[in-house]
């Protein structure tokens, strides 16, 4: 029982919050549930192909191959592949986390996984096109240049913060 609560504390807390709103302001809660329902459908629609691809990656991509492409010793090539993958991928960050999980499982370098995630969040190409049309090319261009550097900085700084034991725990956890 205690273990179950530990595992689902977040869900339990959120359900409790929703129940409180339901008691004090049923109308507001109905609106919130309406949003949640709509989002849930969108989310299923978006995640279905992602999870199919993750499953296929899991059975077809050999660990050795992934290590060669994005692993510890992949160097500049690994960084470029991670950047490219991130910049063309247009899904929200949370939908990419399962992909990050598989990359980790297959032995990708941690900084490369972070480059992939952060690049997709802040400097992806579809986002840039949209940004130019609403905020102008000057704003977009400066922000892109700065964030390009920031993405790399964050990835390498986070990796530097990890001890060998931390890294091992991450790879074990992903298996």
């Amino acid at each position: 029982m205690k273990k179950l609560i530990g595992k689902y504390w977040f869900l339990i807390a959120v359900v409790a919050a929703n129940l409180l709103v339901l008691i004090y302001n049923p109308q507001l809660e109905m609106k919130a549930l309406n949003f949640t329902g709509k989002n849930f459908l969108n989310f299923l629609f978006m995640l279905t192909p992602i999870f199919i691809c993750i499953g296929l990656m899991d059975v077809w991509i050999e660990r050795d191959m992934m290590i060669k492409i994005m692993g510890e010793k992949s160097g500049l090539k690994g960084v470029l592949v991670a950047l490219m993958l991130g910049m063309i991928t247009a899904v929200p960050l949370y939908a990419l986390l399962p992909v990050a999980g598989v990359l980790l499982k297959k032995g990708s370098r941690i900084s490369n996984i972070l480059i992939f995630l952060c690049a997709s969040a802040s400097i992806r190409i579809p986002l840039l096109l949209f940004e130019i049309s609403s905020l102008g090319w000057k704003f977009t261009f400066v922000r892109f240049g700065l964030n390009f550097v920031v993405v790399l900085l964050i990835a390498f700084m986070v990796e530097k913060l990890l001890s060998e034991a931390d890294k091992k725990a991450m790879y074990d956890n992903a298996d």
């Binding site: 977040f10 869900l11 959120v14 359900v15 919050a17 929703n18 709103v21 919130a32 549930l33 949003f35 949640t36 989002n39 849930f40 989310f43 978006m46 995640l47 279905t48 192909p49 992602i50 999870f51 199919i52 691809c53 993750i54 499953g55 296929l56 899991d58 059975v59 077809w60 991928t89 247009a90 899904v91 929200p92 949370y94 986390l97 399962p98 999980g101 980790l104 941690i110 996984i113 972070l114 952060c118 969040a121 802040s122 579809p126 096109l129 949209f130 940004e131 609403s134 000057k138 400066v142 922000r143 700065l146 964030n147 920031v150 964050i154 700084m157 986070v158 913060l161 991450m170 956890n173």
Partner: protein, 162 residues
Amino acid sequence: MDSIFTYFLYGLAAILLALSFFKDRKKTILSLKKSLKMFITVLPQFIAILLLVGLLLVVITPETIQRIIGTESGFLGMVITSLLGAVTLVPVIIAFPIAAELLSNGAGITQIAVFISTLTMVGFVTLPIEIKYLGRKVALSRNILAYLFAFVTAFIIGVVLT
């Protein structure tokens, strides 16, 4: 723009699935089973996030964001908008036009920049899922660094563009 990408993903998934099935049926079925299993493991957390986002969307509407960013200015304004960006999960597709509107109404460019950076890079609501996949240490340090860098880049953008 993002939904076009989703259709593309469907196409990609279908082609890969067909190739995989053609090459090895058993492995393909195994992969689908794995997909389903991975999906079910994270489903409770995703449902929690969707419920939380639903609540936040009712409380923090685009109008609220517009009001807060539009009126608060200076460093305090940046702090408030950065927190707003960190906790909200408004799609950027909606956030960009709001930002453009605010800019033309005289909002500070540093505030807008910090909002967009935290909105895209810092995910307070999705932190539990990030911790699940990447561990506490990576998830927390990535978000904290992204939050701090949002201020640095916003200041530079402010200096360059004004």
